[in-house]
């Protein structure tokens, strides 16, 4: 029987949660790197025992850890992230130019074909690549060097590059998203990038439909249909049917279209999940009810999934990288909360159960489906 391994990053360490295919009983291992912030951990699709982890601390800075045995043991690898050339400036909160400064790695995305290649999305927003299993990192500076780079401005949480999507049908095509610059696509393996924000509307901007400046929170794709993208924006849930060339809103009947994560069912490319959050200034579920919303029509028509989730007095948040789906026949959905709960559904979201309730605040959840 297949097994499932969850990689959970928290504000005070990493945890590895494993279960058999029934996904009812879980073994919890950790904390790894206790006391450090684990922004993200992700395994290689080629070699699932190879896992990369972003470990950071306000005191000691950034570390990258690598495991080659499925998370049992870890080795520190390269942590030198140096912007290419003269870094230049982006826009600061007050509108003044501000030098680019590396702060942390928000997201690690291992290659779909090579276990030694991994991409890192960092704050201040930039994309780096390692081709030696994390030992050394080189910036894909065409992104930051895009003509709009000097005008990017951080969102409240910092100017992080948080989403990296690799197109499984086209090795040269990748998508990234930055708060608060927007979505970008490369069709040449990362040398050049174009903003892909047509159709987004952000009322906090002087020109709400400007080419860049949007606070994209997360983008998701189904591997069988890589030209269809789903986006949770600061406000609005959006969809693109042409590889990001244009977007249209699919918020439909959601109680609020603010939120952070968005994900796609493993076997149903039109089934998507979001977790509505009350507002940009009230980062908790509306009415104290934790509800995942599922659309089986690729957006617009949404149903609340509540069975097993707290329906009163719940005021946690779910961060952008804290939702994942497994690829078991009955698709499993997982998410972690800022209150330290990790919830799992083994039936596509129909019912939920807390795997663990009292971890440190959860920053990220990834899942591996193992043979």
């Amino acid at each position: 029987m297949s097994t499932v391994r969850l990689l959970v990053g928290t504000r005070k360490g990493a945890f590895v949660l494993t279960s058999d295919g029934h996904r009812q009983k879980w073994e919890i291992n950790g904390p790894f790197f206790g006391g450090w912030e684990l922004y993200h951990l992700k395994g290689s699709p080629v070699d699932p025992n190879r896992i990369y982890a972003s470990q950071c601390s306000g005191w000691f800075g950034q570390m990258i850890q690598r495991s080659d045995d499925g998370g049992k043991s870890w080795t520190p690898v390269g942590n030198k992230f140096v912007y290419d050339g003269v870094p230049g400036t982006h826009q600061w909160y007050d509108g003044t130019p501000h030098p680019w400064e590396f702060k942390r790695v928000w997201h690690l995305e291992p290659s779909l074909t090579d276990p030694d290649t991994v991409y890192a999305g960092v704050e201040d927003a930039a994309m780096f690549r390692s081709t030696d299993a994390g030992q050394s990192w080189q910036e894909l500076s065409g992104l930051r060097g895009h003509g709009s780079g000097a005008h990017w401005m951080p969102g409240a949480g910092g100017m992080g590059l948080h989403t990296i999507l690799l197109d499984p049908s086209n090795a040269a095509r990748m998508y990234i998203a930055i708060s608060a610059a927007g979505a970008f696509r490369t069709d040449d393996g990362g040398k050049t990038w174009l903003p892909k924000n047509l159709g987004l509307k952000s009322d906090f901007m002087p020109d709400p439909t400007a080419e860049v400046g949007h606070c994209v929170h997360r983008i998701a794709m189904h591997p069988s249909r890589p030209n269809v993208l789903f986006m949770q924006k600061h406000w609005d849930v959006m969809r693109s049917d042409n590889a990001g060339d244009s977007w249209h809103e699919v918020s439909g009947n959601l109680p609020t279209d603010f939120g952070f994560p968005i994900d796609v069912h493993a076997h149903e490319p039109d089934t998507i999940y979001v977790v509505p959050i009350k507002s940009d200034s009230e980062h908790y579920p509306p009415d104290g009810k934790l509800r995942v919303y599922r659309s089986r029509s690729g957006g617009n028509e949404w149903e609340a999934l509540t069975k097993g989730l707290p329906q009163s007095d719940c005021y946690v948040n779910i961060l952008r990288d804290a939702m994942a789906v497994d690829s078991m026949d009955s698709c499993g959905i997982y998410f972690g909360t800022t209150g330290g709960q990790v919830y799992a559904s083994a039936d596509s979201g129909d019912s939920w159960k807390a795997i663990v309730r009292d971890l440190p605040g959860v920053l990220s959840v990834e899942v591996q489906t193992l043979p």
Binding site: W36, W59, F60, N79, K80, V82
Partner: protein, 98 residues
């Protein structure tokens, strides 16, 4: 031998317990101590000082002989008691919190 005391998170990272002992030839300064430390324990690169600018990380302090040496220049010579090994060079995580 130079004695260096690391904060617990860095001892864990470097897989050491207790003090770190370093053999340094020539002047004993913050720079030479940290150069030697990072040469012996490469996983500590970037955790105490920035890898590009060489600046001390903001929430770390350097103490020795009951003095705060954090703001001394990198090539400032450390006290003779540190150079002789009588006193340790302390890397301390600044207190943050209430």
């Amino acid at each position: 031998m130079i004695r260096v005391v690391l904060p617990s998170h860095l001892r864990t990272l470097a897989q050491v317990s207790g003090e770190v002992m370093l053999d340094i030839e020539g002047p004993v300064s913050q720079r030479s101590v940290l150069d030697a430390l990072e040469a012996c324990y490469p996983m500590l690169r970037g955790t105490i000082r920035d890898q590009v600018s060489g600046k001390r990380r903001a929430f770390l302090r350097f103490f020795a002989c009951k003095r705060d040496l954090s703001h001394e220049p990198p090539d400032f010579l450390l006290p003779e008691a540190v150079a002789s090994g009588a006193e340790p060079f302390l890397v301390v995580g600044a207190v943050a919190g209430g």
